[in-house]
């Protein structure tokens, strides 16, 4: 009964297919990408075959590789249609060559290689398709044939399909974008292109990291404490951030997985798959020489690198300790952003370069979004900030807001423009309707300036995110523009019960066993999630990772609810206690989420912030 919703559309006799469908369900729905062309030409990037295998001991991608000859074999169908072929609105032509692109299939990421000759799509090969079932691949091949026939991949939605094989189309579109073609574009798609380009700036950042590696060699003994580390997953352009607690020279817990700069929701499945096994192995072996996770090689490597990064900081000096992730939460439609950091104004000491920075955008009380991390590239040239761009976030549903904050509206100048103009953080006006994002962007600038050496008072921004116990220091409120409503909702001012004030703000990774009750037919599994407390209050639970990913659907259902069934997370946030109603159809996951909340609360109230991997092993 409780599994009904999942299988309601596909009662397939073939178990393999059913599995593929269930797995792909979530990926595909979340992987919907607006199918639109863009006019920007992107340089054809060579595929990084060499990097692919660096940790690929168990990489099963080759098992599923479809060779060109396989595709050709299926190409025998030669139907004639008495209907005119669609005229696609392609302008300009594609440049001859071969181009790669990727998209989400049922089982994960699909990479394709598109060959253009005489400005026509002549061949499409699937070069990697980890986790795809044979039946999906057969369909994918058929889709490829159709794309070649139609010379376009453009379908917006499939009627009658609960989910569809959009992944292959997305992959082809990405490849075609690289081929130029001067196609029409929706303005927002340009951002996606920029995210692609972020790779290059990320690489620069990474070079810095590797320099660190040399100066502080990894064999030293890590100092006790919590250190955060990050690494860019080169292949897909997102950054893995994590925290590691070292005790007596050993890594005792790895937690706080945060992804920044991800442009494709589908990637989530990969890092989720990789996260827990990697954490276990690292903690077990205490060295970084562990195998990558089968089917999620890239993210495994990135997790590993992020851990190494954290370890290097622990081995090295306090100098490499994390920059603070300061949050300010004062809301008001139009306010002058608090001028609390005059000392971070540009100085001659600023080192030129592109700095990849991130900051948490936290909702104030009136805002109904959950905290997310905003990331951007801040470029300094000639000692001055010349651009803040390549914005991305951990929750792209906020994209409208942060872009609005960055770029402003017809009435209000964007925060980016203001910063570039003044080269200062004082006197910056928040963009009305995007106040929180405005502050976060300003935060990004401050962080980048600090990284660039332009900041004077390092101690203000240092050593804070390294441990979740730290309460974010809040800047004083600036006087709001007269006539506009002011709601002062700094966490400290909230009238919480005294006991609530014992809750230490931060992100706590907690887990609980999802135990099957007598009516359920699944095996017990472990569910992990990040629980965020701010202002002594629960503000969100995210990064839910079920041990058995086939249960992700239930977890999401429990978390977010449906219909009249309010999600557990919202109930927890509303009530701030564990007394919530289970989401019908996902009772067990609901109970586990409540347990996770309680566990996290315990961590936040006690002095124990060790993560679950520690306990459960």
């Amino acid at each position: 009964m409780k599994k009904d919703w999942k299988e309601i559309f596909f009662i397939l006799p073939a178990v393999i297919l059913a599995f593929g469908v269930v797995l792909g369900f979530r990926l595909n729905m979340s992987g919907f990408v607006p199918v639109t062309y863009h006019e920007k030409e992107v340089v054809n990037e060579p595929t990084k075959e060499s990097e692919k295998d660096s940790y690929s001991g168990n990489d099963n991608s080759s098992d599923n590789n479809v060779s060109n000859s396989d595709l050709k074999n299926d190409n025998s169908k030669d139907n004639v249609t008495n209907i005119k072929k669609l005229k696609y609105t392609k302008e300009g032509t594609w440049k001859d060559g071969t181009y790669t692109g990727s998209g989400t299939g049922f089982g994960g990421l699909i990479e394709v290689c598109v060959t253009i000759s005489n400005s026509e799509i002549t061949d499409i090969q699937i070069i990697s398709c980890e986790g795809e079932t044979q039946s999906y691949l057969k369909k994918a091949i058929a889709v490829i044939e159709r794309i070649i026939t139609a010379q376009s991949p453009d379908v917006d939605m499939v009627s009658g399909a609960t989910y569809s094989s959009n992944g292959i189309c997305t992959a082809v579109i990405q490849a075609l974008n690289k081929a130029g073609g001067n196609l029409k574009i929706n303005p927002l798609e340009k951002n996606a292109v920029q995210n692609n380009e972020k790779k290059s700036s990320n690489s620069k950042k990474k070079e810095n990291n590797s320099k660190n590696k040399k100066s502080a060699d990894g064999n030293g003994k890590p100092a006790d404490g919590v250190y955060s580390g990050s690494a860019v997953c080169e292949q897909f352009g997102y950054t893995i951030n994590l925290k590691t607690r070292f005790k007596s020279g050993k890594a005792v817990s790895i937690y706080g997985l945060k992804i920044t700069g991800n442009k494709d929701k589908a990637n989530k499945a990969y890092w989720e798959k990789a996260w827990k096994p990697m954490v276990k192995r690292i903690l077990k072996t205490q060295n970084t020489d562990v195998d990558a996770v089968s089917g999620a090689t890239y993210s495994s490597n990135a997790i590993l690198e992020a851990y190494q990064n954290a370890r290097l900081k622990a081995v090295g000096t306090e100098k490499s300790k994390d920059k603070k992730n300061k949050t300010d939460v004062s809301p008001s439609p139009v306010i002058l952003l608090p001028d609390d950091n005059d000392n971070t104004q540009a100085t001659e000491n600023v080192k030129d370069g592109i700095y990849l920075v991130s900051a948490v955008c936290e909702p104030d009380q009136r805002m109904a979004f959950s905290a997310y991390t905003l990331m951007a590239d801040v470029t300094f040239e000639g000692g001055k900030c010349i651009s803040i761009d390549n914005f991305s976030s951990t929750d792209e549903s906020n994209k409208n807001y942060y872009l609005k904050a960055a770029n402003g509206t017809t009435e209000v100048e964007g925060v980016v423009a203001q910063i570039l103009k003044t080269q200062s953080v004082s006197g910056i006006s928040a963009v009305s309707g995007a106040t929180c994002s405005s502050k976060t962007i300003r935060e990004l600038y401050i962080k980048a300036l600090n990284e660039a050496g332009g900041a004077v008072k390092e101690d203000i921004v240092d050593d804070s995110e390294t441990s979740p116990e730290n309460t974010p220091s809040l800047p004083p409120m600036a006087s709001p523009t007269p006539g506009l409503p002011q709601t002062s909702s700094l966490p400290e001012n909230n009238s919480f019960a005294a006991s609530d004030m014992l809750i230490k703000d931060g992100v706590y990774t907690a887990s609980a066993i999802v135990a099957a009750d007598e009516w359920e037919e699944f095996a017990d599994y472990n569910l992990t999630a990040d629980v965020t407390f701010a202002g002594g209050k629960l503000v969100g639970i995210d990064n839910m990772v079920p041990e058995d990913t086939s249960n992700q659907g239930y977890c999401n259902l429990a978390a977010n609810g449906y219909g009249s069934n309010k999600g557990v997370i919202q109930q927890l946030i509303d009530r701030q206690n564990g007394d919530v109603d289970a989401v019908s159809g996902a009772t067990c996951s609901s109970l586990a989420l409540v347990q996770i909340y309680k566990n996290a609360l315990e961590m936040a109230m006690g002095d124990c912030d060790e993560n679950i991997y520690n306990k459960s092993n």
């Binding site: 009662i11 199918v35 917006d156 009627s159 569809s164 303005p187 927002l188 449906y562």
Partner: protein, 359 residues
Amino acid sequence: MKSKKKICRYLLSGVLFCVLMVGCSSKSGQDGTAKAETQQDADTSFYAERDIFAMDTYMTVKAYGDRAEEAVEAAKQEINRLDRLLSTTNSESEIYIVNENGSEILSEDTALLLEKSLELYDSTNGLFDITVYPLMQEWGFTTEKYKVPKVKRVKALLQNVDASKIEFEATKYLLTLPEGVKIDLGGIAKGYTSERIMEIFKEYGIQSGIVSLGGNVQTYGLKSDGSFWNIAVQNPDVLSDTAGYIGVLKIKDKAVITSGGYERYFEEDNKLYHHILNPKTGYPADTGLSSVTIVSDDGTLADGLSTSLFIMGKEKALKYWRNYADLFDVVLVENDGAITITEGLEEVFSSDFDVIVAE
């Protein structure tokens, strides 16, 4: 024929719009450097999207416009509201209550849907019947505990399958069901919901939007790049090696709703039983069709007709269409894969398969 003219008009305006867009985009393309701040021109539309699980299925809502975020949020609220109202299993829904108590004063939405259902019942000679619900339960399609019921049992339940027995006092919104009669508006609920979302899009000044409610697609305006939406029609032969879809419709401001036996079915004694029950026989409709896709301005109508025409079979379905050709068009797929489309789709449907155009 009427709709064909309309489509020509769409095409013409589409071309004009394209020309305009080309002018704009080539201009902005020249200075389209890698600076985020240069991208948000005044005419930039914002994009928002929501994935929602409701009405027992996955739904996606996408919108372009300055207030896209607000619009998709409102759409989500509306979906959840209607789900609460129309669910057969939620003990607080009007449908649940009326099925339990035998009578209930309906809210406006439910009353409207009920009236539409009864209209469809008349126009389809009883093939669209909201009282088939007890049979759906008996077959296990509502709970997924599938079973082929005994012939006697089917006959007994059929006694109560007759929407004409429903009493509805339109002035009081009072619905009364005779003993043993139960209703389910699920046959048009999603179509109505997508239509409501189109109204929300309008309220929020959305330029361009699309929803897929478990495969029920409805589009609003043109795509953000000024072109028509390309809506594929799922291949009902889900296990075949062919492409996922049988063809693509180029449309704007239309609902595209597909029903087929492939959506929900089970196997017993080597026989497949799908979920579209013929209310006259109490058994899954077996008329040689594997899917029916309705293309219409009216999402509610499209939803209701997709199952009704499936039950009718090809010939009767085409006959029905001829009577209401100004209201909808249809794509019929037969069990052997043959595809028939109605006239109005001739210019907008493209397929790699052979297609017969019915007039």
